[in-house]
Every structure is written in structure tokens, then in C-alpha cells.
Symmetry: C2
Subunit: 559 residues, 2 copies
């Protein structure tokens, strides 16, 4: 895939920044109105007016009280390579009625060399109303960033949050696997889900493309089709398996497995529990073990878990064990996972005990049947023996809430603060170019986020500060911070040669996410009725918001 | 973006087929287990066994009784260009523990020259359990198509169905605009949403990239930021506007607008309804009209719809009218849309009447505030004056149900029918390579879909036929079809030189969708408690399913 390069050659301060992961992310991935507005700004001679926009969301998703911020890297990659090709410009011209040719020349010269982006670090825990990004630059150009930025951040942050919530309910010790490629909303619904679920705390993905692009660990075994593609043991032609240490060779692995199956059938605890198992399933398991003797993991529910799948699996696992290999475990994809996983564990433990096979009881049980936060929580309450959860549909499509509502609002133009009013108070924007801080309390937890005007002095450690709710005059609190963290850092400085934040590897973003989540006060994290985290403005900003509001709102006439 | 080409050079019978729209759709957009299985098949010497897989879904989405099939074209484009690059093969090898080098040679030679795909035509109305695609070919290759095909079809069909449902509730006469780019699940969540919403009956999109790629009509005006970026009328430097016929020039359009505003204020019906309007809003509207005098459409809710937005808009529209232009209308993005649209219409009609401006009352009212099926339905029940709906989040993310559950099941291998069992009857697969037909009744409506074995004689017009529920023995009906349509047509025939279906333009798929929906019996289409459409199997297939089931299911032991 070609990477588009603009006048900056994707470089800033000598560093090359690649284009977005998906080459379809171009300036045309935009709402038409960004171009009609650009044209109208240009016609009015306003296109270069210096504007400041905030990108933020109004409500945490999934009924929770926190969100994971993700998608920033893709935005910066988009910025760094922003330019319109001649073909794209022709298309824009033809889409705008009465468009003058000189506007095309204007578009031809556009890049992001005059844009500044301040952002919260990707992977951070974030809250409503606090800007995730503050974008400053010529108004027509910044508007052209609105739709792509929202597109790149909304889903990324939503699915990262969903992953973090699944991790929270599953607990630290479980292996979490993202299995969503087939049900995701399109190809990069799949690929970016894999990326941002990893960021949000998942351990691995089934998606090979995502593994290759982002270095995410891959997991996968076989499907029901593999099992039912076998008819009988006669199909297996090459029955030879070398032992793990390479010192001996089993000439008929099928025969060894059959012997092991008989051993299990005759063992004291399992006698009479099952009779004849499905032979096509057994053939499939043996074939799979011959292909992957070091990492044998089988799907055991094609015919019947306890009557066929588990005995067949255990026979193959025992045979592998005799040759010095260690089978990994099984996957359950249907039925009552609490009950089945417990029964499976008992079966494994019975073999460990009766047949004296060390660690056989510790084999991994993976579950993967339409799981989500609720079902994992319910499993925990019932008790289960699942070690790894494979989660697909509900995770990647964010089934419980399929969209995050980030918005992109003008807060200042030509140094004049701007406000967007609404009859719905939650939709009123917070004006002014702002700075934002996270204040930490004595116990090390974050206490409150505060927004101030750009030129206000920053909050100081140990100094008492009034934090006000931006719209509710009676909600306010004095805070004496023990630590102050400025949230918005410069990630893009256009042509300017000053230092800016580096884009970090995915693994670092994941570490930040996990660490920040661990550092949250537990009541904000509860699944049921979590405590809202406080988001505030300085007293000075509060006063200014309400001054501007009254200034802009028309006064009604009563008759 | 480069298109990858395989040994077939993307050609079949001399025709070149381009790669998928998104260049990220490669054979690596796959679950790892497709590659582990391919390896295990290859190790067992089974990789070329002739297999037949069905792709189908089990349940219609959104509580409805129909689904629109979409995504086929992308699948065929993927097939036609299927090949693995050396770099991709290296990555696969490194991902498979103990992978032999000879397997890489096998992967290197893979293409879809030995694959056949039969499918229902894209844009068709389809039902659960009936195969949308039947894919035949070497088992290892067909398995590598599973994940990409499911990914390309699941979301496409889901969002097309969602669009069709929105069209159904909005009615034929309304303009439906897809505005989802910013909230979609990633970049091609946006681009493919635009494509498939158009297929499902939408009229236009705001997404410029989708307009360019697929020729979908584009729509868009301006945002709240455009309005609030203006401070006062003094900002407008160039106030000149030529009349529509080019014969005269208005030297001060601002002055003309102000005169018009006064006229409205003094008109008999509107006197005293509003007083001073927001001047920054008026400046924005005037600027926008100067840029687009032929297509002026304004967003009127930045400050206050009835006190500011509508009077300001009407003043500009009247001024344009005096110069021979016709304004298009307004957009409402907040508030009570039923009430506001009605009030706006009254305002427009009062101007038409009082100031004698023909057609002023007929201007278009567009609504766009978090709309979905339910809100449009509720608006219809309350009564409203909206002409066009702009629908975003709920439409493109399929918020009401974010995933469709298409599956891909082995139904035959080496001419041996295969079945996948489950304790949940709805999850049992229907074995055999099948043909499928739609039977139409006297009134022209489709009555039932029927699946038969491949070699059974096809249903005949006028001949009585027993249609059986595949799993419920008491549900059966005799049908005398007045018309019979075979559903599965050949869309890919590998290297064979025989005729196959051409890929049709998007517009044709949209026409098919609209036409087939119009031809459905109305009770299947109801939003509340729709009647399920019947899906059946032939008597012969019924008997065979149940024979195979008993054959494969292990018999329990009671103690």
C-alpha cells in the first residue's frame, strides 16, 4: 500500500511518520459539509482564521464511569500525511455547486504544517467533557480534520473501554482472547478491534492481519468443520510420531491413542461414564495432534462434550504425554460453561489421579460461546473452571453500546471564546482555549479533573483550589492536590521545530491503560452503580462560561 | 492503492476483477485457526479434498422477519485476487509452531482457481437457514475464505437491512440521508455503511469517499461551528451578489437581507413573534448564501430555532429570492422535531402568504438529531413536517443490534454429507450440497423458500409439493407454486470457462432490494409482531437430515 505524503513528507523535526494503518483514511473520509464550509470560509476570506476546537465525549459508555482514550496515533499519522491529490480535488470541485477554480488551488496547497494538536496520552483513563484533543489552526483546515479524527477516535476508544471492562470482570489471572474478526463491522472493524482490545487489556487475538500489523500475540486452534471433515480413523495415512526428545518413534500413534482411550475407560473414577466416542472426532483430534504435537488444543463440543469430545481429547493428550509432549487443553463453544468446565476439570483431575499423570488436571479450559461482560460475571458467580475466555461478537461490535459520541466543538476563533448553546445543558460546549489537569489525593487516587483558561496559573501541590461543576452552580469543592498532572501534551506542532511527544509502541499504551485502571478508586470501577468521577472547571472559567452564555442566548418575548 | 493479483491475474473468462474496496482485505484478514487447520489438513494429506460449505444466518436482525443480503461483490473481488505474498507466508510460518517449509510452498501456490461459489443475488431479501453462498473447493482453501467472507457479509447485510427498515418506517416519499461517518466503527465501517445503506434504500450520504468510490449522491451543508465562527456582520467583506440570471448585481447583500428581516418582522402573521436575532448567526447564513446562492440550506439551531435561526434563515432566503435564487431549506439538529418542524412550516407558509413568495412554504425541512427507526415512527405518529431525515449513529453502527450472526458450515466432503450437531436445535446445520428455490403464490408474493438435495428434481409451477420444517416434524405444508425461482446462481467458477453471473452496479443491487421489498407480503414487513416467512426442506432432505443426525449423535448411558 502506498503511503501518501504531503509537503511535509510525513516528517516533523526530521522524523518520518507513516500514514494511517488503513490507506482508505484520506482527507475524503469526510462529511461533505467540511468541504462546503471550507469553501464558504474561503469565499468569506476567513479560511486562515486561527481557531481552537476541542474533541471530547459527553457520557461514558456501557453505563460505566470511565473511558479508555484510544486512536490518537492514527490521527497523528493522518495529520502528518494530510494532502489532497489532484483526482480528489477534482472530485471535490464537482461535488460543490458553483465551485471556483481558485478554491482548488487553495485545496492543492493544504497541509497540516500550521496545525497544533495537544492530546491526552493514548491509553489513558478519561472522563466526559474533558478535551481528549485540542486542535488549533486555520479554521478551514481544522474543520477538515473533524470527521476523520472523530471516526478514528470514537470506535477505538469505545472498543478499548469495552475490552478494559471485560478484563475487569474476568480478573487479572484469566487469559483473554479476542475472536471477533468474522462478526466485526467490516475489515478494519476487525483489525482495529484487535489493536484496541489489546490496548484495553486483552492478551491475544485470532486475527492474523492484526498480529502482523501490531505484533499482538496470536491464538487459534480448529473449528467444528475440521472435526466433521473427518469420517473415520482409516483416513489417517501417516501414523508416525517422533517423541518430544527425538529419541524414539511411535510407529502407530492411532494405536497408542486407542490404548489410552481404553485405559481411561477402565480407570477407577471414569469407568462407565462414557461408552463409544465419535470416531470421526477422534480422527480429527489425532490428525491435529500429529500436526501440532507441541501445542495440542482441541474443540470438544462438535458431537457431545462429556460423552465424546473430552474422552477423545484425553486419549490423545495421554498418548502425547507418553511421547513426552504436553497437550495445552480444550475449547468449549456451547452449552452450560459453568457446569461443563467443572465437569471437564473433574475428568482431567481423575486422569491425573488414577493414571498418575502429573499436571493433567491443570490443562487449560478455554470458553468461547457468545460471551460478554454479563455472562463472564454470571460464570464467576456460579463458579467455573475456565482459564481463558475467547470473546468475539459482543466485544468487537460493542453490542451493549455500539457507539461513543465524541464531538468536535469550536471553543475559540481569533482569540475570541465561542460557545455552542443547546436547550439540553449537557450539550452546551465549554468555551475558551483551555488547559486541563488531573489532581491526585493523599491515597494516590485521582480525585478530580479540572479545566482552566489557558493563561490561568496551574494548580499547585498542597494549595487549596476551588473546583466547580461547569453548569451546576451548587456543585463545588475545595481540593488540596497531592500531585498535579497536566493532561494535554503536544503531539503535533506543524512546522515548528520544538519538541513534541513521540508516538509510543502499542505495548506502552497497553501498559499505561492497565496501570491507570489499577490506580482508580475502586468505587469508580464498579459494574453496578459506580460513583461518577468529578470533572470541574476553575472558578474563573465558570464565571466566563456563564457570562458568554447569557451574552449569546436570545432573550424570549412573552405575550 | 495497489491491487494484489494472483495467478489468475484477477481475470476469469478474460474479465478483470478488481480487488476488494479496502486493500486491507487480504488472506491474512483471517482467524489464525484457518491457517492451523490448513496446516493440519496438509499434514494429513487432506488439503485438496473436495468440500462444500454453506454460509447462512440463523435469525433475522432487529426483531424483524427479513434480511437484505449484501457483501457478495466484495467476496468475489477477494476471491479473484486471492494470493499470499512471500512476506505474508513468512509471517504465517512464524505463527505456526513447528511449521514445515514445504507447507509454505503449498501456500505459495494457492489461489481460487479450483473454487466454485454459488450465491443469492446481492440486494435480495433473504431468510434464516437458507444458504446465501454455497462454496465448493479444496477444503483447506475454502476454510481460508471463511473469516474474510463472514467479515465482508455480516456487517454489509446487517447495515443494508437496517437501512431498509429505516426506509420502511420513513415511507417512500421522504429523503433519507446517511450521516454516519464520524460515529461508525472505523474507516470502512463508515465507507461500507454508506455503500450498503444506499443499497438498502437510502438516497444519499455525507461521506465524500463513499460518493467518490461508489457514485452515491452526496449531501451536506454546514455545522454549528461554522455558525459560531462568525462574530458579527462586519466580518463580511465582499457583499456583492449577482442575480441568478446574471443581469443585475446586488451591491450590498447584507443590506438586502436586513431589509427582508424587517419585512418579516412587520408581516401581519409574524409580527411580534421574535425580536432581535443572533447577529453572528445571521453573518454565517449570509456568508454561506454568498458561497452557495443556488443551494442555500442552513442549520438553524445553534442559538434558538424559532427566535433566531428561522427568522435569520428566512431573511436570507427572501433576499436570495429577490435575486432570482431559490433557497433549499433548513436543518434541525436538536429539540422536539415534531413541534419545531410544524412551527417552521407555519413560519414558511406565513411568509409565502403574507409576502406573496410562491413556494416559500414548500422549502425542505431536514431533521438529524440522533434518529432511529423508533424516533421516526414516533414522529410519524405525532405528525411532523420533516421532508428529509439525516440518520447517523443508530443507522451505521446498527445500534439496535450491532451484529449479524452469519456462520460458515461444512455440509459435504468427498461427496459425503456432514452435519454439525448441537444441544440447541437452531444450531444444528443442514447437511448436503443443496439447491434452493423461492416459491411464489397466486398473488405474486413469495410463499416459502425450499432447500432440496442437489440431484432432486426442481419444484415445478402448478405441481403440488410437500414443504417440511427442517427440524419440527409436525410443521409441513403442501404448496402449489405459481412461479419458481432458483436462488443460488454461479458467481465464481474458478478456472472453468463456463458462463457465470456478472457483478452488477450498485444501483442495480439497490433496485433489486427496493423491488423485492415491495413484493413482500405486508405482514412479513410489519415492525410489530411480523409473521415469519417460511423456510423449508424437501421431504427427501428432511428424512436424510434426521437419518444423519441419529447416525452421528452418541447414545447416552443411564446408570
Amino acid at each position: 500500500m502506498e503511503k501518501k505524503e504531503n509537503g511535509l513528507d510525513g516528517k516533523q523535526s526530521g522524523r518520518v511518520i507513516n500514514g494511517p494503518t488503513n490507506p482508505m483514511v484520506t482527507p475524503l473520509l469526510n462529511d461533505l459539509y467540511q468541504f462546503t464550509m471550507a469553501y464558504a470560509y474561503w469565499k468569506a476570506g476567513k479560511q486562515s482564521e486561527r481557531s481552537v476546537f476541542d474533541l471530547y465525549f459527553r457520557k461514558n459508555p456501557f453505563g460505566g464511569e470511565y473511558t479508555i482514550f484510544a486512536g490518537l496515533e492514527e490521527c497523528i499519522k493522518f495529520l502528518a500525511n494530510f494532502n489532497l491529490t489532484d483526482e480528489e480535488i477534482d472530485f471535490v470541485r464537482d461535488s460543490l455547486p458553483g465551485c471556483e477554480e481558485a478554491f482548488c488551488d487553495y485545496l492543492r496547497g493544504l497541509d497540516c504544517s500550521d496545525i497544533e494538536v495537544y492530546a491526552i496520552s493514548e491509553g489513558s483513563v478519561v472522563f466526559p467533557k474533558v478535551p481528549l484533543l485540542r486542535i488549533e489552526g486555520p479554521v478551514a483546515v481544522v474543520q477538515l480534520l473533524e470527521t476523520p479524527f472523530l471516526n478514528l477516535i470514537n470506535y477505538a476508544s469505545l472498543v478499548a473501554t469495552n475490552a478494559a471492562r471485560h478484563r475487569f470482570v474476568a480478573g487479572k489471572s484469566k487469559l483473554l482472547l479476542e475472536f471477533g474478526a468474522r462478526r466485526a463491522q467490516g475489515p478494519d472493524g476487525a483489525i482495529s478491534a484487535s489493536k484496541y482490545c489489546y490496548l484495553g487489556g486483552f492478551d491475544a487475538t485470532s486475527n492474523v492481519a492484526a498480529g502482523k500489523l501490531f505484533g499482538i500475540p496470536l491464538r487459534g486452534t480448529h473449528s467444528h468443520a475440521f472435526v466433521s471433515s473427518f469420517m473415520s480413523l482409516d483416513e489417517i495415512v501417516d501414523k508416525v510420531l517422533r517423541s518430544s526428545d527425538g529419541k524414539s518413534t511411535c510407529k502407530d500413534f492411532i494405536c497408542l491413542v486407542q490404548t489410552c482411550l481404553t485405559k481411561i475407560q477402565n480407570s477407577s473414577s471414569l469407568q462407565g461414564i462414557f461408552s463409544e466416542t465419535n470416531q470421526s472426532e477422534l480422527a480429527a483430534f489425532i490428525s491435529y495432534a500429529l500436526a501440532f504435537p507441541n501445542s495440542f488444543l482441541a474443540l470438544v463440543d462438535t458431537y457431545d462434550v462429556m460423552k465424546s469430545g473430552i474422552p477423545n481429547f484425553c486419549a490423545v493428550a495421554l498418548a502425547l504425554n507418553e511421547l513426552g509432549y504436553k497437550a495445552v487443553g480444550i475449547r468449549l463453544d456451547s452449552g452450560d460453561l459453568a457446569y461443563l468446565s467443572t465437569e471437564v476439570r473433574k475428568f482431567f483431575c481423575a486422569i491425573e489421579r488414577d493414571l498418575k499423570v502429573p499436571d493433567f488436571g491443570k490443562m487449560i479450559v478455554t470458553a468461547s460461546n457468545d460471551l460478554n461482560e454479563e455472562t463472564v460475571d454470571a460464570l464467576n458467580k456460579q463458579g467455573h473452571e475456565v482459564d481463558a475466555f475467547g470473546i468475539g461478537t459482543n466485544l468487537v461490535t460493542c453490542y451493549a453500546q455500539a457507539a461513543l459520541g465524541c464531538v468536535f466543538k469550536l471553543v475559540e476563533i481569533n482569540n475570541q471564546p465561542r460557545i455552542k448553546l443547546s436547550e439540553d445543558v449537557t450539550k452546551v460546549s465549554i468555551p475558551c482555549k483551555k488547559r486541563t489537569y488531573r489532581l491526585f489525593g493523599k491515597e494516590g487516587y485521582p480525585l478530580v479533573d479540572i479545566m482552566t483558561g489557558e493563561n490561568e496559573p496551574p494548580p499547585k501541590v498542597g494549595e487549596r483550589l476551588l473546583c466547580r461543576h461547569p453548569f451546576n452552580e451548587s456543585k463545588r469543592a475545595y481540593v488540596v492536590p497531592q500531585r498535579v498532572e497536566e493532561l494535554l501534551k503536544c503531539y503535533w506542532r506543524g512546522n515548528a521545530d520544538e519538541a513534541r511527544e513521540e508516538l509510543e509502541p502499542l505495548k506502552e499504551l497497553r501498559n499505561r491503560c492497565i496501570k491507570q485502571l489499577e490506580n482508580m478508586r475502586p468505587d469508580h470501577m464498579r459494574r453496578l452503580n459506580p460513583t461518577p468521577y468529578k470533572v470541574s472547571v476553575s472558578a474563573k472559567l465558570y464565571d466566563f462560561i456563564h457570562f458568554l452564555w447569557l451574552n449569546e442566548a436570545p432573550v424570549g418575548e412573552l405575550h
